[in-house]
């Protein structure tokens, strides 16, 4: 009887979400997977089946590997910079105010800083893209170059120099993401019992020791979760690349990512079948990343 009740409950709770999900997400995705085995151009009533041809072609596609390279770099650099900056800022905000007397305090104005730092997070990515495009303009009308030229420097091709464009792109992602993790880590730090710090301070630990010996280890879990979120974000970044970079992924493909190439291939070049194959590849890459990270970091609370 209890068993029956339990299954009834499970079924009742899962019915609506699973139905919605299967109908509106899984079924279109399955169709997209099927399309990756065809040469569909987006208009044919009957797509022609081509087997795994799209995938073998993918293997020799310069553009595909180039996009993977970008993902690789973003994946390595962006989370690292975001997490490092966020940790430092959070530390300064919460514990940078000195330890006069018994307690550790945040710096003056920490609420203000937190509010400001988080603000980019509430802006739509498209807006962030348009905004930074103006900041990065290559002549005196760009906010940065305007200042550089006022100081007598040569204007810098932030987005037009292929050696620089990807870093400029990553900088924007960092700009937008840091505040979120500052807030996250701040909460984490304020949850660390104050007496930990006091005890350590009594033992003569300096601020850096406090940071590396106490704060960091206690925030380990939070940092790992942050890493996964940021990693998944690194596989997407479609909108930002589309809006911000020169001709979506340029110059010379220096900033291109898979979603942007998929979009172009499917809708500009009418090769939906091939684009779907790229999508399938992206799917497995993201899944692999997530599983690997979570397995490696062995976070028990979030498991795949």
């Amino acid at each position: 009887m209890e068993r029956l009740r339990k299954y009834g409950f499970v079924l009742g709770f899962l019915a609506v979400p699973v139905t919605l999900y299967v109908v509106f997400v899984i079924s279109p995705y399955i169709q997209a997977f099927q399309l990756s085995l065809t040469s569909w151009n987006g208009y044919q009533a009957n797509p022609a089946f081509v087997g795994f041809e799209n995938f073998t072609r993918l293997f020799n596609d310069e553009v595909f590997w180039n996009a993977l390279r970008t993902h690789g770099i973003v994946l390595l650099v962006m989370p690292l910079v975001v997490l490092a900056l966020a940790l430092v800022f959070a530390f300064l905000l919460n514990l940078g105010g000195g330890s006069r007397g018994a307690g550790m305090r945040g710096v003056w104005g920490s609420t203000f800083y937190k509010v400001v730092f988080f603000a980019p997070q509430v802006l739509a990515v498209a807006i962030v893209g348009v905004l930074w495009k103006a900041i990065y303009r290559p002549d005196e009308s760009g906010v940065i170059n305007g200042a550089v030229m006022k100081l007598g420097g040569e204007p810098i091709g932030w987005m037009s120099d292929p050696n620089l464009a990807l870093w400029s792109l990553i900088a924007v992602m960092v700009w937008q993401a840091v505040g979120f993790y500052v807030v996250l880590f701040s909460a984490g730090m304020s949850a660390i019992p104050k007496d930990y710090f006091e005890a350590a301070a009594l033992d003569g630990a300096g601020r850096f020791t406090l940071f590396f010996r106490i704060t960091l280890p206690l925030l380990r879990d939070t940092i790992q979760v942050g890493w996964v979120y940021l990693g998944i974000a690194a596989f997407d970044c479609f909108a930002l690349v589309q809006v911000l970079t020169l001709d979506a992924g340029g110059p010379d493909g220096a900033t291109t990512v898979l979603p942007v190439e998929i979009f172009k291939t499917a809708f500009s070049y009418s090769k939906v079948g091939y684009a779907s194959a790229m999508g399938v590849a992206l799917f497995f890459l993201t899944i692999t990343f997530a599983v690997l990270t979570l397995r490696v970091t062995r976070r028990e609370k979030i498991e795949m």
């Binding site: 040469s39 151009n41 987006g42 208009y43 044919q44 009533a45 303009r137 290559p138 002549d139 009308s141 204007p155 091709g157 932030w158 987005m159 037009s160 292929p162 020169l246 001709d247 340029g250 110059p251 010379d252 493909g253 172009k264 809708f267 500009s268 070049y269 009418s270 090769k271």
Partner: protein
Amino acid sequence: MSHPGEITRRQLLRRIGLTAFVAGPGVGLLSACATGGTTAAPSASAPASSAGTDPKNPFGVDAKKGLEVVIFTGGFKDDYAKLVHEAMYTKSFAGVSIKHTGTQNVGTMLRPRFLAGDAPDVVNNSGPEAMDVAALAAEGHVADLGPLWDAPALDDPGKKVRDTVTPAAIEEGKLNGKDMTLNYVVSHRGLWYNSKLFEKEGWTLPQTLDEFKALGDKAKAKGIHLFAYPGQKGPYYMLWNMLYQAAKIGGNQAIIDIDNLVDNAWKSEAFKASVTAWHEIFTKYSDKSYLGLDHTQTQIKHLQDKFLFYPTGSWLEGEMAKDKPDTFEYALAPFPTVTANDTMPYGAIQVGTGEVFFATAKGKNPQGALEYLRIMLSKEGAKGFVEQTKSLTIVNGSAEGVDLPPGLASANKVQTAAGQSLITSARFEGWYKELFDYAWAQQNILMGGRMTVDEFLDKVQKKADDIKADSSIAKQTRNA
């Protein structure tokens, strides 16, 4: 997709043409670039089911059937459709209902509807999301326009519609030899400059490459660049420029061969000479920072006399009207002569058509769709368009009685002087967009100084070869 511009976002749409001005007297000029006999045999699938003879209703439109029109809302917006063409249609068939949609996302919106068998009747297929008309036609979605061109004109039943428009439009609306699209507006492309500045400085238009560069030196002394193109959003202005220059050097065949994917067409003498010349002009007389600017930013710098020549089409004047200072007046210059024996004389100019409409074959009202296009091509319909958009249509004389703005007047003059020396449009832009995008991307690398001219030609040729070898890409050809 028959005309060159389909591809790209804004441009396409904006092609504001000149022909309407030129139209009355100038028809002959335009016809030079169209093949003489454009008589497509009226196909059996013509929707003119019943009474094909009534000049009032040649397609046999059922007056009770509604009509659905989807208009790309770019630089022309969609008032011309609502206030002019649709109003005329409802006047012809009193009580008929028209469903109108304006959108910038033609592809996202319509691709699924075509698949679902729920297509609208008339589509202005332009803008960044324009659909692949060849692919749609292969599925039988696009109506043959043969019957439209052969139908009696709305205002003059004694004339066929085809005799009321510039023949270039009919030619550029063909796909695999069939009349598929109505390319409604006309534009002239060449090198735009500030005639007031030239007057002030006492400069004359350079006619040869050497004179061009000599002027570059003079300008440099005044801190002005000779030439610029936008590295962003409109980098293909430069690709057009080099293609047209190649046609001036080696004749239209240079472009036709590239369109037809002829082996080594990109490595022809003419194209190589053109690229070499423009590479030198850009690297010696311009500035790399333009590679990071988009068309608007570059055009604003043009208005500020930061550089002399800008390669684009006649929509430029309308686009910048708001920002144009009194010290600036647009004028069109032809391409300089590069070699001693250029095929075309100095003065040759490019004329192209754009803003692509088609009628759907499997829609609910294919007869109505053809009639709608016939209305667009009437004097009243075309004139209404000109009034709404300040742009010219392919309909002869559609801008009669309109004052020519200076830039358009200048283009008109250049075209008259050009006579038969008209440079053709590059069609591969619409046929093989992947090749086109690749070519301008490589061109930016070349102009950025990270590649030599030969490397550039090799790379683009290789891409053309790949496209040719790719059986999944449907091929098009042209004869003229």
